[in-house]
């Protein structure tokens, strides 16, 4: 059993607090949801957990060991993988090469990486796409490739940043099933950031709700569903007509 924990993490961009005192923990095999309106600081938290953003205060710990100061590739080599909004595939490379990059990045030989990549494509269910150039794939396939790429080398934790954005209901269902298998069959701890609240409520064991960089609610799906604070946060932000502060926060995040 492993556990990944953020302890009282705060991040400030030029005086603007993107995160303040956020706690979060994910254990092996667990699916934790991270939701909140736009600009709530969800991606910033993922960036902190994966070494792309230093915390101004607080610490990230993997099995009790602090990860502070590690570079993104070092965090990945310790078994914390992530995906990005919009995929960020290596567009000029074939799908199989996209997966191989993680294998060689983790120190495998090219032959070993290729063998694992083939098995992984099978596991994720996109083996027929192996030789397609990643830049030519439709959106939903891109997401699966990104997940397959992140799963190379069997990470302990997988952080998914809006994997269902732009998917139809049926496609989101397939994605849910895949995420369940990642947690169940691989024993990987999953942190799911998603705007599709229905998907998160249906899938997660535990949910953390952020608003304006602060945790406003945590608990199992039933508690989140019943929470007045969560409802208020979502209703209050009706689309992007939010407080100017939040929009500024969003820009910094991007």
């Amino acid at each position: 059993m492993s556990d990944l924990r953020a302890d009282k993490v705060s991040v400030a961009f030029a005086g603007l607090k993107a995160l303040s005192d956020v706690d979060l923990s994910v254990a092996s095999g667990q699916i934790v949801g991270l939701i909140g309106p736009n600009g709530a600081g969800k991606t910033t938290l993922v960036n902190v957990l994966t070494g792309f953003q230093a915390a101004t205060e607080g610490a990230v710990r993997l099995d009790g060991q602090p990860l502070s100061g590690l570079k993104p590739h070092e965090v990945r080599r310790r078994g914390i993988a992530r995906t990005f909004q919009g995929g960020r595939l290596f567009r000029d490379l074939a799908v199989i090469d996209n997966l191989e990059v993680t294998g060689v990045g983790l120190g495998q030989s090219r032959a070993a990486a290729l063998a694992e990549a083939e098995a992984m494509l099978d596991w994720v269910g996109i083996a027929p796409l192996a030789d397609r150039i990643a830049g030519t794939l439709p959106y939903t396939d891109e997401r699966r490739v990104a997940i397959g790429r992140a799963l190379m080398g069997r990470p302990k934790f997988l952080l998914l940043d809006e994997p269902a954005a732009g998917m139809s209901a049926a496609e989101a269902q397939d994605l849910s099933a895949l995420i369940r298998r990642i947690a169940g069959e691989m024993g990987c701890g999953v942190l799911l950031i998603e705007h599709n609240v229905g998907l998160v409520l249906g899938l997660c064991d535990h949910i953390v709700v952020l608003d304006s960089g602060a945790t406003i609610e945590t608990g199992p799906p039933a508690a989140i569903r019943a929470s007045e604070k969560v409802r208020h946060a979502y209703m209050g932000t009706a689309a992007e007509t939010d407080l100017p502060v939040l929009e500024a926060g969003l820009e910094v995040e991007a």
Partner: protein
């Protein structure tokens, strides 16, 4: 689409590219040998040297996407190694009296000097690269240029070891094309082997999406450094052979002129493609040669026809502009020459935008 047959297939699927390019180079060498004319022989030697330099540049720039203005510094290091190790000790002691005794007495064959030049350049690439490879984009380009300026400045002033700006003469001249052909073919294969290696794959991924590459465990400065050292070695060997092709070196032989010719050949051929590197050199060098002949005058029956002097530079500029207008990513773009013609109608990669075309790993 069928699954790939086996894991050792990357090399087998892509080896056709360096083989075809080598065949092309052999054809040039045979033409020089068959023609038996000395100026033409020298032209082909120059072409092979340019191939070595541009392939050296490609190894770093093509795979990393970082434009280096400094690689010619490594050719300079290699060129002077040839001078230090192959000139007769008597001549050395008058031109470069500050050389240490063991180096003063050394007289090795040209091919050993080329290997030594490669090793010396690779060492300095490791030293410079350890710092430079942390930079990206324009900062990295400027820093590589600063490295070139530093090397040039040291070699132009260290009187007792490099004879400062005066020409160091007496380097044994090698006039036959074959050693240059062998070196060009070796550099093509070295560049190919790197691009299909695990470091090459990781580096190309980092070129396209650095953030995602880092999140995939790729240590970007380190993979860049591997490419920098290998390309430095190729440039160093090229510099040593260049010295043997003309018999002398000066610091300015390896400065801005060579930097810009080699970079423009790479850009015209296609920065992301080994085939582009080689074909860019062959096309531009051939063009320069034809224009030179036309400027010198061609006899047609009784009368003779000659272009006015200076047309060479203008025509070359126009051709480069036209190529880059119609194929902004260079003649080959990011794709490799595999002997199959219909590269432009690839399913799933519509449109003339060759930047979205595959790199050498497919087909």
């Amino acid at each position: 689409m069928a699954r790939r047959p086996s894991t050792a297939s990357v090399a087998r699927r892509t080896i056709v590219t360096p083989v075809l390019l080598s065949v092309l180079l052999v054809i040039f060498a045979l033409a020089a040998w068959a023609a038996g004319s000395r100026p033409f022989n020298q032209t082909v030697i120059d072409i092979f040297l340019q191939v070595i330099f541009v392939v050296g540049l490609y190894t770093f720039i093509g795979n990393s996407g970082v434009i280096s203005f400094g690689h010619v510094a490594f050719a300079c290091l290699g060129g002077y190694v040839a001078a230090w190790t192959t000139i007769k000790p008597m001549m050395k002691s008058s031109a470069m009296p500050g050389l240490p005794d063991w180096l003063m007495q050394m007289e090795i064959p040209f091919w050993a000097a080329a290997i030594a030049g490669a090793g010396f350049a690779a060492f300095w690439a490791l030293v410079f690269g350890a710092v430079l490879m942390r930079l990206s984009g324009i900062a990295a380009s400027i820093a590589t240029f600063a490295m070139l300026a530093m090397v040039n400045s040291i070699y132009s002033n260290w009187d007792s070891v490099t004879a400062a700006t005066s020409s160091v003469v007496g380097i044994p001249i090698v006039r036959t094309v074959w050693p240059y052909l062998v070196a060009a073919v070796l550099s093509v294969f070295a560049a190919w082997a790197f691009s299909i290696s695990r470091h090459g794959l990781a580096l190309r991924a980092a070129r396209d999406e650095p953030t995602a590459a880092a999140a995939s465990g790729v240590d970007i400065p380190r993979v860049r450094l591997v490419a920098f050292v290998l390309s430095g070695a190729i440039m160093g060997a090229g510099g040593a052979l260049y010295a043997h092709s003309i018999g002398l070196v000066t610091p300015d032989t390896f400065y801005l002129g060579l930097t810009f010719t080699t970079l423009s050949m790479l850009v015209v051929g296609g920065m992301g493609s080994l085939s582009g590197a080689v074909i860019g050199v062959l096309i531009l060098s051939s063009l320069i040669q034809i224009l030179r002949w036309l400027e010198a005058g061609v006899a047609i029956g009784e009368s003779s026809f000659a272009l006015p002097g200076g047309v060479q530079e203008i025509a070359l500029g126009v051709v480069m502009i036209l190529i880059l207008m119609f194929r902004p990513a260079g003649i080959m773009g990011n794709s490799e020459w595999t002997g199959r013609l219909p590269r432009f109608a690839k399913p799933g990669a519509p449109g003339p935008d060759n930047r979205s075309q595959p790199t050498g790993d497919q087909t």
